[in-house]
């Protein structure tokens, strides 16, 4: 029981950066913008967190730096994409490579140094509880942030007016524009906000989960998983976060199995999320293939099952909106 509680606690904390990144990107994509630079952004933000943390001696400043880096990179995506009309996919991909290399270059002097760590907070009251206390009671503040953001974002996106406008902008920007909603402004805003969360995810990695900076950094590949999780989560904050915890669980499980099978190399377990990622994407996209549609037409039961699993992207995702071109 103790062991289970500890494992769950591990999942909650390991999953925190993934949850932050996934939630951030969910917001961005809900607005219709795809930020493919996640993987590189997380690395660069993680590096910045360590660097600033070491230089200033204050891990909180490091955390702030990571958020700032996330905002800056997202800002580049927002400018080159929605504002200047370049392909969002191309820009994001280039940025992910660029930021990754930049992170390793600038992070060189900080490699393998004892990094600053964010303090671990004990929640008064909760940490005393028998089972839940272990799972939720003692964590880094960013972990608590990730937990808090799940219901907050769910509420924001689905239960508020601004959240409705966000969804409208990602679905049909022409219609939103026709109703006086400022499409460009909202897209840029949510890209930046999403970017901030992505940056914080990087900071979480290097200041809480696996403190320090190394080569290769443990967070490699996390950005791509987050992008897939957004799709898997159907652009829904709660479902996406659950997916993140699922992947964290796989990672934790991988570490435990690794100890039982010392013969297999560690990196092998690190790459295991990716086949799972492909599988989840397959499941989620299948309903759109022709042959499944034909089957679904003939077997209504299948159709119901398929539509439940289907992920429906915001219709205008990835497409830049140019109001002058209309009419």
């Amino acid at each position: 029981m103790e062991f289970l509680a500890l494992t769950l606690a591990g999942i909650v904390s390991t999953g925190a950066p993934l949850v932050l990144a996934t939630l951030g990107e969910t917001l961005t994509e809900r607005a219709g913008v795809i930020n493919l630079s996640l993987d590189g952004s997380i690395l660069l933000a993680a590096m910045a967190a360590v660097a600033v943390g070491l230089l200033s001696g204050n891990p909180w400043l490091g955390l702030g730096a990571s958020g700032l880096v996330g905002i800056l990179i997202a800002g580049l995506v927002a400018v080159l994409g929605p504002v200047l009309g370049r392909s969002q996919v191309a820009v994001g991909f280039i940025l992910t490579l660029f930021c990754r290399d930049l992170a390793y270059f600038l992070g060189h002097p900080f490699a393998r140094k004892l990094g600053p760590e964010l303090p671990v907070w004990s929640l008064p009251g909760i940490s005393a509880l028998p089972f839940l206390g272990v799972v939720f009671g003692r964590h880094s503040p960013v972990v608590y942030l990730s937990l808090l953001l799940i219901p907050v974002l769910w509420w924001w996106v689905f239960l508020t007016q601004p959240g409705l406008e966000l969804r409208a902008v990602g679905e049909k920007p022409q219609a939103a524009f026709a109703r006086g909603i400022s499409v460009h402004y909202l897209r840029i805003l949510y890209t930046l906000v999403g970017g901030a969360l992505v940056g914080l995810a990087g900071g979480t990695f290097s200041l809480a989960i696996k403190p320090g900076w190394g080569r290769p950094q443990g967070a490699e590949g996390a950005g791509w998983i987050a992008l897939a999780l957004v799709i898997f989560g159907g652009w829904h904050p709660v479902r996406a976060a659950l997916g993140a915890y699922l992947f964290a669980a796989l990672q934790v499980l991988g570490i435990m199995l690794q100890e039982s099978f010392p013969g297999l190399p560690a990196p092998l377990f690190q790459v295991s999320p990716f086949p799972v990622m492909i599988l989840t994407l397959l499941v989620v996209n299948m309903g759109r293939t022709g042959w499944i549609q034909d089957l679904a037409y003939r077997y209504p039961g299948l159709r119901r099952w398929v539509s439940r699993w289907q992920a429906s992207a915001p219709a205008a995702l990835g497409r830049n909106f140019q109001p002058e071109k209309e009419g």
Partner: protein
Amino acid sequence: MASSTRSLGRIIAAILLSFLVTAAVLLLADAPPLRTLGILLQGGLGAPAKIGQTFAVWVPLLLGSSGLLLTFAAGLWNIGIEGQIILGAVFATGFLRPFPEGGGVVLVAGALAAGILGGALWAVTAGGLRTWGRVHEIFGGLGLNFVALGLTLWLIFGPWRRPGVASMSGTEPLHPSLWLRELAGLSLSPMSLTVGLLAFGAAVLLLRRTRWGLTLRAVGQNPEAALLFGLRPNRRILEAMAVCGGLAGLAGALQVVGVYHRLLPAISSNYGYTALLVTMLASCRARFIPPICLFFALLNVGSIQLPLQLQLDSSLSGVIQGALVLAVFLVQGLEERFLFPGRGR
């Protein structure tokens, strides 16, 4: 005429911008900008051996970009090219493993062919995920990249490990008779070079002079119309992926028989991703690909000097490459938005 001066202006503006960015980054890293760049260039051009290395890196980049010309023409984002290079290396190594005593040219040719097959198979897998599973080739390719890496690690530490010492330095080296011959002291194999240039030429020919290439371009421009014309877009997508994967696999195989003479975890050295940058920087214009590949190869080789001489990380080359492409994008975007609005894309 005005268009080519504009082109030139665009290029100069982009180079200046990326130079500024690089300088800023270097200053952030407490490195003297001009001296660093000097060491970088020297590292790639300073000695005959270095020049040879640069050309040796030129080959896989050329192979990769040539293949990407085809996939981009078909409207595909073949991010999986990195994994296709790896699979080519794996297949080539696997082909040669039963011959620890070595052999002749035939074996080497067989290894290269195996490499082409491996890369092509991996690419078709990503393509198939898209055409039958509606999984975007970015995610499919990326996932497969990591799987390829995992496969390599498993092989190196598992069934193919060196007896007694399983390590990151790779598998048992190949018998010297299976190594590609190099020009004296230049660490460059003329055969690799020839293969690279031929592949580039073949890709351009395929794209521009054959009906198949025309069909690819049609599919990339308008899949609906391609369907109406009876061009079978899905088939073309798989074919384009196969050819690109084959070329990437060939690059991987050449890395094994020509450069490292064994299978390493880092056998692909990010050449796939770099090739993507090259092709994007060239805006898929074939004539720019060889020079840009060469320049990027120069950066890669030159940056090896950085840790030794300046205690800097060698990923500076990637920073410069990325900055260049971003700068071009920025300049293009500004031009369209503010100088010539309404031109459309």
